[in-house]
């Protein structure tokens, strides 16, 4: 296709694959399996992100430390310009909720730099926020656990009184804690607001089987591709460590209705809970790929590659479906690194990965220019 890069340079964030794994490594692994000629740049916020040290298929070719998203769009763009100067980025696929506000703010500047970004529209993003999820549920005809937001613990406790204990106390972007009484609610409020800031939400606790749908919206109300699973193994933080693919017309229809209502463009994860004998309830919608997205990629449904190809203007056929019964199990492994690797990233703020698997000091500017094809 005209204008599409032959050797795309794709920046991906969310490189940590620890107890609360992020999706970056799974996204890289998936795209690399389809586009081995692509170069992957890690957008990293912490030198302890495990993805900086892996040499598996999900490894980065180079990585750059960024200021935390809370620093704002200006700082993000400043650092990104430096990275773009060195790498010539073609596409950014963010996998962290906290980055989206900054990316949406600088999206037009990125466009001028020739960088594509896989982000939803701002109205879509806002319409699936936890604080307004019940409104979306009403419009799409999907039940949502009762949820209230508050900026102080006393008001939050009043809301919890209406819902009843136990209930969940949640951050607007991250973190959810089950509390059984008002004392625990105050403690949870203080912890969550100290890290993520207000508002803090209180949500009715609904118990049942948990289902997740990872997919890609086409931006026009259609569902380009998806994979629905029942969670089999969960970490203490509720993260899926095992799942089995299902073919449930009800779950598929819920996903379709939500995507249609939001006119969602790009990757998402829908989380559902089905209490015994009752309907599926919408727990939340994550505006990014889930950490398990490399699993469907390995069985014929490579959604990250589809998103990358579509964004880069390459011919992109929608991926096929994963048959019911396919399963994934997350298996933790220990990797070997060296303190010099960490030192290099911290002192230089960037690192290059050599073919033999080691890390290297940042390349000289002329080497980079040569790599980009400049004279």
């Amino acid at each position: 296709m005209k204008g599409a890069p032959l050797h795309p340079v794709i920046a991906v964030s969310g490189l940590h694959r620890g107890e609360s794994p992020q999706a970056g490594g799974a996204v890289i692994e998936s795209i690399r399996s389809r586009m081995p000629q692509a170069r992957f740049i890690g957008i990293s916020y912490d030198a302890m992100e495990t993805g900086l040290y892996t040499r598996d298929l999900g490894h980065v070719d180079a990585a750059y430390l960024f200021p935390y998203p809370v620093a704002g769009p200006g700082e993000f763009l400043k650092r990104l310009r430096m990275v773009h100067e060195a790498e010539g980025l073609s596409l950014i696929i963010p996998t962290l909720d906290t980055e989206l506000e900054n990316l949406l703010t600088v999206q037009s500047s990125l466009g001028e730099m020739g960088i594509k970004v896989a982000v939803p529209s701002r109205p879509s993003l806002n319409a699936r926020a936890k604080s307004v999820l019940d409104l979306l549920g009403k419009r799409a005809g999907v039940p949502v656990p009762r949820t209230f937001a508050a900026n102080d613990p006393v008001t939050l406790a009043d809301h919890a009184g209406k819902i009843g204990y136990p209930c969940y106390v949640k951050g607007a972007l991250y973190d959810a804690r089950l509390v059984y009484n008002e004392a625990q609610l105050h403690e949870a409020f203080n912890t969550i607001s100290a890290v993520w800031g207000p508002p803090v939400l209180v949500q009715e606790a609904i118990y049942g089987e948990e289902y997740v749908v990872g997919g890609v919206g086409d931006g026009k109300g259609g569902l380009a591709c998806h994979c629905a699973m029942r969670k089999l193994l969960r970490s203490k933080l509720g993260k899926a460590y095992g799942g089995v693919v299902i073919e449930d017309p009800v779950v598929n229809d819920i996903a379709l209705r939500l995507v249609k209502e939001l006119k969602w463009d790009g990757p998402f994860e829908i989380e559902l809970v089905k209490p015994a004998g009752r309907e599926h309830h919408l727990f939340e919608i994550n505006p990014r790929f889930p950490a398990w997205i490399s699993f469907p990629s390995k069985v014929g449904c490579n959604m990250p590659a589809y998103v990358a190809e579509r964004a880069l203007g390459l011919a992109a056929a929608a991926p096929g479906r994963v048959p019911a019964g396919k399963m994934f199990f997350r298996h933790s492994e220990d990797m070997v690194a060296d303190i010099s690797d960490v030192a290099r990233i911290i002192t230089h703020g960037e690192t290059e990965y050599t073919v033999d698997g080691g890390l290297a000091v940042p390349e000289a500017e002329e080497q980079r220019a040569r790599k980009r094809g400049s004279p």
Partner: protein, 97 residues
Amino acid sequence: MNRTGVDSIEKVQPKSSFVFFDDRFVFDRVSGMFFAISEEAALILRSAWEGLDRDDIRNLLMQRFEIERGTAIRDTEQFLGKLKELGLLPPTWRDRS
């Protein structure tokens, strides 16, 4: 039954969402639930989804497992009751007492 012991559900029970593995393990493709069950229970579950009625199922149990009629009736009723409780019976069975 194929080499891996998995029946093709499309061939056997076009309306069922269950996949049977050696008649000892059942996976529900819709809900993602799976169960280890006895061969007797598998026969009852399969038969209910194939549209057989209670008498047919009892007779099948008696023939297949060489058991008394009383035992067949008890086993069939107990297991159908359990399946109904779990919502695993076909729609045509759900309103039956």
